[in-house]
Symmetry: C2
Subunit: 348 residues, 2 copies
DNA sequence: TTGTACGCGTTATCAG
DNA sequence: CTGATAACGCGTACAA
């Protein structure tokens, strides 16, 4: 294994001091042209580049942002990571990834690790806010003493940091309103959890919307489940098999597109024709939505833009004193075929 | 912003030297119990942890591996990254991500950046080997002088590094044989490219298999295309509309599952019934394969296990002298519904 | 058992 | 314009 040339090697070989080498590298104008040329030549010959670690030690920064999320294999977080990566890259920063898995909480070890690495900032995405709010804010507060902190969180939580908020209200309102317009009254929600301590509180928001629109919120229409396809299959089966078909809902809103995938599969297996017999709306507007059968209508939370904002604010906060504020990114409904809207279909 | 306590702070406050603090942190047994206790107490009080940057500078290493791949939003690479992450994590290493986008080549800048960051190792995944082999090996060779290098590559390329090879042969053979068994003779390949300089040479391998099995390799059955769903839609439309329906293939093998998604959508739009009118086989065995309609039969290259092996070997090579060798991970065919095999269906 | 002193590679400051 | 030199925080011989 070679040893990479150091600034000393360059300085010696060019017959100058290390200070001058730095000046040349940094394109400091106060260097005689002849000197610059000679030094640059040696630099090129060795393909010299300043050592990252040394720079970091000296500057006390890492030129890296931490992104903390549950799992990157989940497409939603994958998109956040990707967007964060490019936004950071654009600013000469790298991303250090931390996956917490199911463990939603911010552990003390994680906090210490982040401080130890001298992260220039941290972005928390995912479900940390489901944990005890007190603990959470304590952790964020401590972290905030060392580096800027940003979170991508539902609109109704208040955290002591840069909050990029997803539009929980419209995320629930849009699907319900769309279905209502199409004539649906019995609308079910599958996946996630109905409890207000839920990951993203999507279930609770959904219930609220039903009430606002004066629609029945039959408890039989709300099955707590997980966040993946198998959960969707099981949940819809459990719901429908417990109900006389005359009481079946006519539309299903799912926690996310994965759950919707499972629901669609199960409904087809039961012989239903979609969207005629059942309307479905997912959430996240994943890449495969246009390729399900029928193509899945879905809510887009615009995670990429939230991640971009988060990184941008983090980088900004690095310079100035850190602030605590919120930015809301509105949700959008992407209408496809799974509710029959494209047929001008209207349920009685 | 707080300043994190340094080893000096701890030493002063505990009334010992920095060396002793290090000993306590490192659990060096040659420390008097009383001293250890006192120092540990101060350490705990400040939640002191040695600075990563300082350690890196001192040790000349970064405790980090680089993963270079085209895009993480592609599920295949996403899985590689995820697996690499956990394997590295298990060994106290972090992952530094580099996305190259379409730019397949290993640029000189990338090489320098990797060296500059003192990466403990690099894993290249993706399509770098499509580039000129000479350039590639030159870059790998240079990199190899500074750190262990591993690649996840097709089985038929020879690179001067740790080669985790995907099973290109079976990746082509398995689908063709499966279709052949089911009675298919006119088999098409869509997506990627037929040229041997192709990204993964999957097209070329496919042609070879057709010949081996004495099946017709009508050029009309091979449409170069991209790697995504839109490409699949366009490619199949182009192929079929240029052909009298009597000459249509009876089965389609696609470059990957995304292309298959597009193909399925387009075929349905044309009114075909699947798998009756057309058999389809994808590649990568993505999570959604079980949820397409019909469920997609697909080849699994086992990217997770390849990534694990790669990281493991990288970590090993860090200690010993670096070697150059290859490990092959065999491909598997996961049979679902898209070829009708579950019906005992047999085409004449 | 403990402390001193130096090296790791850069950058910044301050003389010259 | 250029060169010493002092941090930056840690590990580690070597000495005590």
């Amino acid at each position: 294994m070679n040893r990479k040339a150091t600034i000393y090697d360059i300085a010696r070989e060019a017959g100058v001091s290390t200070a001058t080498v730095t000046r040349v590298v940094r394109k400091d104008p106060h260097v005689k042209e002849a000197t610059r040329l000679k030094v640059q030549q040696v630099i090129d010959a060795h393909a010299y580049t300043p050592s990252m670690s040394a720079q970091n030690l000296e500057s006390g920064r890492s030129r890296a942002l931490a992104v903390v999320l549950p799992v990157i294999s989940n497409l939603y977080f994958n998109r956040i990571l990707d967007a964060a990566y490019w936004e950071a890259d654009k600013n000469g920063c790298s991303i250090r990834l931390f996956q917490t898995m199911e463990n939603q909480a911010i552990s003390a070890e994680l906090v210490n690790e982040l401080i130890r690495c001298r992260m220039d900032g941290v972005l928390f995405a995912g479900s940390i806010w489901s944990a005890d709010r007190g603990d959470l804010n304590t952790a964020l507060e401590k972290l905030g003493k060392y580096m800027p902190v940003a979170t991508i969180c539902p609109q109704d939580v208040s955290l002591e940091c840069i909050c990029i908020q997803s539009d929980l209200v419209n995320c629930s309102r849009l699907p319900v309103r769309h279905l209502h317009t199409l004539g649906h009254r019995r609308i079910a929600f599958l996946g996630g959890s109905m409890h207000s301590k839920d990951t993203s509180r999507r279930g609770a928001g959904f219930l609220e919307q039903l009430r606002v629109m004066d629609l029945p919120d039959d408890p039989a229409y709300h099955v707590d489940a997980g966040y993946d396809m198998e959960s969707g299959e099981r949940a819809v089966l459990r719901m429908l098999s417990g109900l006389d078909s005359s009481r079946w809902p006519t539309a299903i809103v799912t926690f996310n597109d994965l759950v919707a995938l499972g629901v669609i599969k199960q409904l087809k297996k039961m012989g239903l024709s979609l969207p005629r017999d059942m309307a479905i709306i997912g959430c996240d507007n994943q890449f495969f939505c246009a390729y399900t059968d029928p193509a899945l209508t879905s809510v887009d939370l615009h995670p990429e833009e939230m991640a971009q904002s988060a990184v941008r604010e983090l980088l900004l906060a690095r310079e100035s004193s850190s602030r605590s504020f919120a930015i809301v990114r509105e949700a959008t409904l992407v209408v496809r075929e799974s509710c029959g809207a494209h047929f001008g279909f209207r349920r009685l």
